[in-house]
Symmetry: C2
Subunit: 221 residues, 2 copies
């Protein structure tokens, strides 16, 4: 799924072929992340990013189709890093039930919010971006960002999330739908947790885990 034959970042105008170009692209992404971390989304201007990355503004637009694409590429890099880290932790700790797994996912997310520059602002893509809706659909051509995340997570955790008993009589809840909903909730609550407290409000992080546990637990309701 989500085959990306043309490289690590979908909406690239030109893919860096030479080593030097690739480094420049990485520099641009890093500069964006740092700027985001330091001054927030409002300060993320293409001119400033280019200045910090020490590339002329034109070069930025050789790689990215626009500011949206730059942001999307950064979100995608964040997602890749998160999935890699989560996969390692799942492998290490081998959680037995859904609750342990969601706790793990939340903890890893929180860890990245604290550690990775710009992750606190963007994570996997601004959910309510002001501009054109197109921004949301760059990670995956059809699904929006959180859906793509849910999909990737779904393959990661396998069939651990079976359809819950006691769900709608017309066939039970779709596990992928549940995952999607859980993603959306977790994102929202954690976003709040880090808006309230730069280090992530512990009470809200706990509540996030509780929401997920209760929502994803088997049983009626």
């Amino acid at each position: 799924m989500n085959a990306r034959p043309e490289g690590p970042s979908g909406p690239l105008r030109r893919r860096p072929v030479q080593r030097r170009s690739a480094e420049r692209l990485e520099r641009i992404l890093d500069a964006s992340a740092r700027l985001l971390e330091e001054s927030g989304y409002g300060a993320l201007t293409t001119r400033e990013v280019a200045r910090r990355a020490e590339v002329p503004i034109g070069t930025l637009y050789q790689f990215f189709t626009g500011k949206d694409a730059l942001v999307a590429a950064l979100a995608e890099r964040n997602l890749e890093r998160y999935l890699a880290r989560l996969a390692r932790r799942i492998e290490c700790e081998a959680p037995a039930h859904v609750a342990a797994l969601t706790d793990l996912a939340v903890e890893e997310f929180v860890a990245m919010k604290r550690a990775v520059p710009g992750f606190g602002v963007l994570d996997f893509g601004v959910v309510g971006p002001p501009g054109n809706r197109a921004e949301q659909h760059i990670l995956d051509a059809v699904l929006d960002n959180n859906a793509a995340v849910a999909q990737r997570l779904g393959t990661l955790i396998g069939g651990m999330l079976e359809s819950r008993e006691g769900a709608d009589p017309e066939g039970g809840a779709d596990p992928s739908l549940a995952l999607r909903v859980a993603m959306e909730c977790a994102d929202a609550v954690l976003q709040l947790a880090f808006r309230v407290d730069p280090d992530g409000d512990p009470a809200l992080i706990a509540e996030c885990k509780r929401v997920l546990r209760r929502y994803l637990a088997p049983g009626p309701g």
Copy 2:
């Protein structure tokens, strides 16, 4: 709480005193809502709003301190309308338990998403606005928008939401915290529901109710 001695919309630069001015202000808000509904947040430019409202751009800035304030005022108007409608329905149907009440709140929210222009994009305030963080704190000087909503909702539903048993041993979960978290989740899932389907995906709306029911239900977990 949240006393607003200076009028219906906090960040107004000048409050309309004459009838004609008040109508102009309302026209500006209506134009914003229509524009939002038709073309989304990205098309919401002050010039276009002024053009549609048939006021010169300067007049817009006589009332509002800036674009953020305009958006916030619209969000606030949405909130007032929602709370009024919800209060009426609660009065009519007198829900006995939390589940019935949250269902009601969700249904009324969905109804407004369908009926009120611009509500689908804004509802009570863009959660992840690109620009300065200030935009979030206009509805209430201290709390962000969803928190203000949660607070107002809290007074509306009274003590129906008691602290759940089996919560943290160190004193039980704070009901207002729970309400806040529930708000955030509901907002996120419903936002998704209307992103997927302009009329609101029924399955996602149902899942939203389920999330709230499960999260807010008494009992351990």
